[in-house]
Each structure stands twice: as C-alpha cells, then as structure tokens.
Symmetry: C2
Subunit: 137 residues, 2 copies
C-alpha cells in the first residue's frame, strides 16, 4: 500500500480542500491517514479510491451522517457488506426519485423558457409594427 501523497496533493486531485479533508477525517468519514515522521498526512492509493467513492456519495447528496454510518460499517470489514449494500440500495432509490424530480422540474423550466421566448417575439413584433419602443403596461 503506497503512502506518499500530501494533503494538498490529494486536495488537488480530488477537488476537496485540505480543510475539508481534515474535517472528513475528524468526522470519521476517512479512517486516520498514515503520517510522515513529522505528523504530516501521507495518503495511500486506497485512501484516494475511498475518497473518490465518498465523492460519489456526496454527489448523490448523501448526508455526512449517513456517510459516517457507511464508513463505520466499512471499518468493520467484510461481515458488514449486507448492511452496506442495503444502505446503498435504499439510498439509490431516493437518488433515482430525486433525479426524476429534477428532470420533471427541468422540463417545467424549459417550458417557461419557451413561454418567455414567445412573449419576447410578440413584444418584438409589436415594436416593429408600431415603430416605437414597447410600452410598459
């Protein structure tokens, strides 16, 4: 297990800030990271992979609280895979519902945009036919 990346290198690679990396470790989302002799963090490749997965969870709006539970289960080893799978499955149900809600809402925004285009076109027409600026009714 290679252990070589500094906190700022990991920040650059993951897009998380060094602040947030320390915060995640303090919160128990990341297991205590290996340290160089002087106490500085040295992240292993496996840490990077785990942080990547945490980012997938964050992208799907899993709360820190749920991630804490998930990380704790992960720390308990292979025996906790059923619980972890169930957590992901029920989270995925919510995520898919949320994606559909966003898609529906996005279509409503699209419709509103079209509506505005129509209004703008008719205002433009009014200006052209009367030869004056559109009044403010």
């Amino acid at each position: 297990m290679e252990s070589h990346l500094s906190i700022n290198e990991v920040a650059a690679r993951t897009g998380l800030s060094a602040h947030t990396l320390r915060y995640y470790e303090r919160a128990g989302l990341i297991a205590p990271v290996a340290r160089a002799p002087g106490g500085q963090r040295r992240y292993a490749t496996s840490d990077l992979e785990w942080i990547g997965f945490l980012l997938r969870l964050r992208e799907t709006r899993m709360s820190i609280g749920h991630m804490q539970v998930f990380a704790r289960l992960r720390g308990e080893g292979t025996g906790s895979t059923p619980e972890r799978r169930q957590m992901l499955e029920s989270h995925l149900v919510e995520v898919e519902a949320s994606i559909e809600a966003m898609q529906r809402a996005a279509r409503a925004l699209q419709a509103k945009i079209e509506h505005y285009r129509t209004i703008e076109a008719s205002l433009q027409t009014a200006t052209q036919t009367t030869g004056r600026k559109a009044p403010c009714p």
Copy 2:
C-alpha cells in the same frame, strides 16, 4: 383574481409549511399576499401558481438568493422577460450538468451494490462448502 385560501390551506396544497410561506414572503420570493380584514393572508390562485413555480426552482436547487433576483425581475413586469429567460437558461445548464453527475454517481453506486452482491455470494458459498459460519478475517 380569487383571493380565498388561508396560509394553512396553501401549506397543505404546496407541501411548504406555514412558517416557510411567511419566510418566503418576508424574503421577497412571494409578493405581499392579499389580506383579510383582520390581517390574515388570503392567497389567490395566481399566488398558488407562482409558489408552484418556485417549488420547481427549489427542486432544481436554485438558491434563495437567485430566486429573490428572479422574483424581483418578475415584479418589474414584461420588460424583464429577457433577463428572466437568461437566468432560467443558465440555471438549466447547471441543472442538466448536475443531473448527469447524479446519474454517473448513481451508476457507480449500482456497480458497488453489484460488487457487494458478489462478495456476499462468495461468502455464502464458503459457508456452504465448509459447513461453518464465515470467520472474520
């Protein structure tokens, strides 16, 4: 313009709490609502429609700050449709990116779930072939 619904009726219809409806009004997301003689709010059908649209914006994670700008533009009348359309268009770009990110992340979760299933199956097989409970390695 019918003006008849009380705040709790609107809360029931929209899923927002009465607290939140007052907060939105104070924040300028909803224009001052008509009042009954005693000062109680009486929402018109047009208010309901607007609140519905605000909910679409909220579902797509538009911030209160942006909604305030949008609501202010709306209050300025038809002349502001180009700005409103541009706001929605650029917001929609973000929303679509966010939907795609969530979909990618959801596929990663799905893959992890499959991975867990595989692990569970092999643990189960080990238990069956050896006739004992899975040890904790």
